[in-house]
């Protein structure tokens, strides 16, 4: 229950930050970077495995947030998870482009759709939960962890995972579902209910 309680009381700072971004205060972007820059860079670097490209994509991410921040509801929104979704989508887009893979931009863009991040726990990425998320991933069985990493960090579809891992599609789907269930069980109190 603690994270949920924190969500009720810990978000005014984040709301104020969103409002300042919406007022186009440059310093607010600096503070946003100080809050989430390292996390965005870590995720993108994990995905593209090249420091220079990762920095370009982080810059692109923050510019996207700056240009689209009017679409998030300052009274409800959680800018961190939204920013992370934009960062991930940009990196997947880059990976797909550079590998000549089919793009899947529609759905990825939807997961970066700001209104979906309304009423989400504002501090979800800043608290102890990031450490808990790492622990939960570490606890997964190797095959489960692999499919989660391929899905999240490489943006592979289940069919692509099937080819990559040399496993039947049905097996991959089973692993994905089981891995997600394990994560939910581990992080159950971390996400709002």
């Amino acid at each position: 229950m603690l994270p949920l309680i924190l969500a009720l009381y810990a978000s005014p700072e984040e709301r104020a930050l969103i409002e300042r971004l919406q007022r186009r205060e440059h310093q607010a972007l600096a503070e946003l970077y100080d809050r989430y820059g390292r996390m965005a860079y870590s995720v993108i670097l994990r995905m593209v495995r090249d420091k220079s490209t990762a920095e370009d994509l982080v810059q692109e991410t923050f510019l996207r947030v700056w240009n689209r921040v009017q679409s998030i509801d300052a009274a409800k929104g959680a800018v961190g998870p939204w920013l992370l979704a934009i960062a991930r989508n940009g990196a997947i887009d880059y990976l797909r482009s550079s590998a000549g893979r089919e793009r899947n931009a529609v759905e990825l863009n939807e997961t970066g759709h700001a209104p979906l991040y309304g009423e989400m726990e504002a501090e979800i990425l800043l608290s102890d939960q990031a450490r808990r998320a790492r622990a939960a991933m570490d606890k997964l069985a190797p095959n489960y962890r692999t499919v989660m990493e391929l899905a999240y960090f490489e943006g592979l579809s289940q069919s692509e995972m099937s080819v990559r891992m040399g496993q039947p599609l049905g097996t991959i789907k089973t692993w994905v579902r089981a891995a997600l269930q394990c994560l939910r069980d581990e992080l159950g109190t971390a996400v709002s209910s």
């Binding site: 600096a30 995720v43 692109e60 996207r64 992370l84 979704a85 960062a87």
Partner: protein, 262 residues
């Protein structure tokens, strides 16, 4: 498809790996603000965000923060309160202040020459400010040049009397124009860049004013988002000093943009 059926696909949707027809069905429920699916997908997006948060922490270069702030034209204001930027952006001012202080001491010592030294210091400060601004422009230009989705177009190659050069267009970082052999404009005129849009009746979008150097070279950066899909070309006209809302002269540069967009 009802919400109960879709529930088990929320996590897959949030990860971007849901399949059809569930994917379209969830999208449809979200579009109509479904009371079950919106909070359900939101929870799944939280889980997805936490998977991202599990990535090993890495440290970007100290320059990245400055690059990002420079890209929104925030270098000076951010420098006032952010330690990292303060170190890198204010050193010319501190240096100028030290120079000014040194000059003042010398001026006192030398008496009659104080005025000359003070003017020299002021000139130095102005030069440093100018160089800081130039660095900001170059940073923006580099961000466009190095962007993974930057499109390049040339102009003037077949003309006997150029201007010649290239434009680089990035959907999120802006437009960079590099030109040579630009004719000298009269004192009351200025170059104005335009984004020419596709479709009849679509008004060109103004994309900033610039002057060429004495040798006819010019570099102009217009930072910000560019709708590449709707852009047909980048053009440059000569306008009055204040610029214009729409082109009033025949463009002397037209660089068509390839239609394929990321």
């Amino acid at each position: 498809m009802n919400c109960e059926t879709l529930r088990e696909h929320y996590d897959l949707y949030a990860l971007g790996i849901a399949e059809e027809p569930e994917r379209s069905e969830i999208r449809s429920h979200l579009d109509r603000g479904c009371d079950t699916c919106v909070p359900g997908v939101r929870r799944s997006l939280e889980t997805a965000a936490l998977i991202g948060a599990s990535a090993s922490q890495a440290e970007a270069s100290p320059q990245l923060r400055r690059r990002i702030l420079a890209s929104i034209g925030a270098e000076d204001s951010a420098a006032g309160s952010a330690p990292q930027v303060r170190r890198s952006s204010w050193w010319p001012v501190w240096a100028a202040a030290l120079v000014a202080a040194a000059l003042f001491a010398i001026a006192v010592y030398l008496g009659m020459e104080s005025q000359r030294y003070a003017e020299e210091a002021a000139g130095l400060r102005g030069e440093m400010r100018s160089q800081t601004a130039q660095i900001g422009r170059l940073t923006e230009a580099f961000a466009i040049l190095s962007g993974p989705r930057t499109i390049e177009a040339s102009f003037g190659g077949a003309q006997p009397r150029p201007p010649q050069g290239k434009v680089f267009v990035n959907p999120t970082r802006g437009v960079l124009l590099i030109a040579s052999n630009l004719p000298r404009t009269s004192a009351d005129k200025i170059y104005e860049m335009w984004i020419i849009r596709k479709g009849q009746g679509a008004k060109p979008l103004p994309a900033g004013l610039f002057q060429s150097q004495d040798d006819g070279n010019a570099m102009h950066v217009q930072p910000g988002n560019v709708d590449v899909a709707s852009a047909a070309a980048i053009a440059v006209t000569v306008e009055n000093q204040a610029g214009a809302d729409q082109p009033t002269t025949t463009p002397l540069i037209v660089a068509p943009i390839a239609s394929s967009t990321p």
